[in-house]
């Protein structure tokens, strides 16, 4: 692995995003719009907005980065640029880390922007510090990126890659505890929920925002999130083959 090649890849990915202002605008402003809609939706029931607003801020980047990464990496595989990169002095880890830096940066921008709007203008109030939301959002974005990278190996077309979003992400959002507390779920559902990474990402956000506590369970949440990220990156790296048939 080399710092130079990693950095070059990060710059290249950011340049690609910069050349696509529409995608960049969608990435940055759609979460803001959604949070605004949410606040309006629960204008009479502020409690609900306060309860789900914070965690939701931290989950947007996860979803966005999952989509962006799975499509971008699929393009690299299909267009032949990945094969070309494999003939260059560039480690697989350079490619992955380059992507992580570039998308982590965009995710941070996204999280900061939506946090400014939510905390500053929409009156969202959390127990924990708002920077914790931003930090968790970035770590979730990198989780989303690593999951997107991994599943891109199983898609042949961009249509398939997009379909991984409802297949992979929506069940996790339903079961993570955002809509119904996990303690009220049926036993089997809770068991499934225990096995899904979103559950831990959400729980960490919930603890940081609603409860404002950074206890042992928070540490466990964070470790699971980071652990799954590393695992998905390792699995993703194993799908980047230097030699193909």
């Amino acid at each position: 692995m080399s710092f130079r090649a990693t950095f070059a890849t990060a710059v290249r990915v950011l340049n690609q995003l910069r050349r696509d202002p529409r995608t960049l605008a969608l990435l940055l402003f759609v979460p803001v719009l959604l949070v605004f809609l949410l606040e309006q939706l629960f204008a009479d029931r502020r409690v609900i907005f306060q309860q789900i607003g914070g965690p939701l801020l931290g989950l947007f980047p996860l979803i966005a980065m999952f989509l962006v990464t799975s499509i971008t990496m699929l393009r690299e595989r299909v267009s032949g640029t990945l094969e070309r990169l494999m003939a260059l002095p560039l480690a697989k880890l350079d490619i992955l880390a380059g992507y992580a830096i570039a998308f982590g940066f965009v995710a941070a921008l996204q999280a900061i922007l939506v946090s400014i709007v939510a905390f500053g203008f929409l009156g969202l109030d959390t127990q924990g510090p708002s920077w914790a939301v931003v930090l968790l959002a970035v770590s979730n974005a990198i989780l989303g990126m690593s999951l997107g990278l991994f599943v891109s190996a199983f898609a042949r077309t961009e249509f398939q890659a997009i379909q991984f979003m409802p297949a992979f992400i929506l069940p996790q959002i339903l079961l993570c505890g955002l809509f119904t507390p996990r303690s009220q779920m049926a036993g089997w559902m809770r068991g499934v929920s225990d096995a899904l990474p979103f559950t831990y990402a959400y729980d960490a956000l919930h603890r940081a925002t609603k409860l404002g506590v950074f206890d042992e369970r928070f540490a466990l949440d964070l470790s699971v999130t980071i652990g799954v990220t590393v695992l998905a990156l390792a699995l993703g790296a194993s799908t980047l083959r230097r030699r193909t048939g």
Partner: protein, 245 residues
């Protein structure tokens, strides 16, 4: 072209008993050949004869069933070779959403080449006026030249170019063949594939491939002699028929 230089001493590429299977079908069967250093070797043959597969194997991105390939005295695929071998894929493997210069700068950064080398290769492929253009907005021929430029970045010792002149206009084709000969003059080794027989006369040596086996090798003059035809196109057809008979 008349080449007065003696055949160079150590070959840059030595392939022995190479067998490659793709999708269950044997594409290259017990292929043995060598490519002399400091010369332009044309790899000619109809579509589907295995040219691209052989080139992929030489740059180390193809799964090989059996046999050996030595490139610059090292087994093909050795990491250090990625610094010394420039590869141009058959379909342009460049980022369509980046400008020509951004693409080349990425390759230059990975290869630790000086920023000025980007200007040099742009000049070589005659793309300086288009440096600031986004690749997707270029014509097919221009895109092919950008792809060629990426292979030239870092001035590698060995260039493996997969159909670099296909689809280009005659003037540009002549210029590129002159460039290839100039590079050989500077001591570089070039392996250039084509399915257009007229291009054979631009090469010092020829490798004629048909259905994964070598039909003829030697200088254009000796290939003519073997077949008894003056026109290389006819010579090739004659040699293929001989093989079949």
């Amino acid at each position: 072209m008349i080449d007065y230089r003696p055949m160079a001493a150590a070959p840059s590429i030595v392939v022995e008993n190479l067998r490659i299977r793709r999708g269950g079908v044997i594409v290259l069967d017990e292929l043995s050949l060598s490519v002399a250093a400091g010369r332009v070797t044309g790899l000619l043959g109809p579509s589907g004869s295995g040219k691209t597969t052989l080139m992929r194997a030489i740059v180390g991105v193809q799964i090989v069933e059996s046999g050996t390939i030595a490139v610059l005295d090292e087994p093909a695929g050795t990491p250090s070779l990625r610094w010394k071998v420039g590869y141009m894929t058959q379909n342009p493997a460049v980022y369509g959403d980046l400008t020509v210069r951004e693409n080349l700068r990425y390759f230059a950064r990975i290869l630790d080449a000086a920023p000025e080398s980007v200007d040099e290769v742009l000049e070589t492929v005659d793309m300086t006026p288009f440096a600031g253009r986004v690749v997707n907005k270029l014509s097919g021929g221009q895109r092919a030249r950008v792809s060629l430029a990426t292979a030239l970045v870092g001035s590698p010792e060995l260039l493996v170019l997969d159909e670099p002149t296909v689809g280009l206009d005659p003037v540009l084709r002549r210029d590129l063949w002159k460039t290839f000969n100039d590079l050989a003059e500077q001591g570089k080794t070039l392996l250039v594939s084509s399915h257009v027989m007229d291009e054979a006369d631009h090469c010092h040596d020829l490798l004629l491939l048909r259905e994964g086996t070598l039909v003829a090798t030697g200088t254009p003059a000796s290939v003519r002699k073997q077949s008894g035809r003056r026109d290389l196109d006819e010579a090739f057809l004659a040699l293929i028929k001989e093989e079949v008979a």
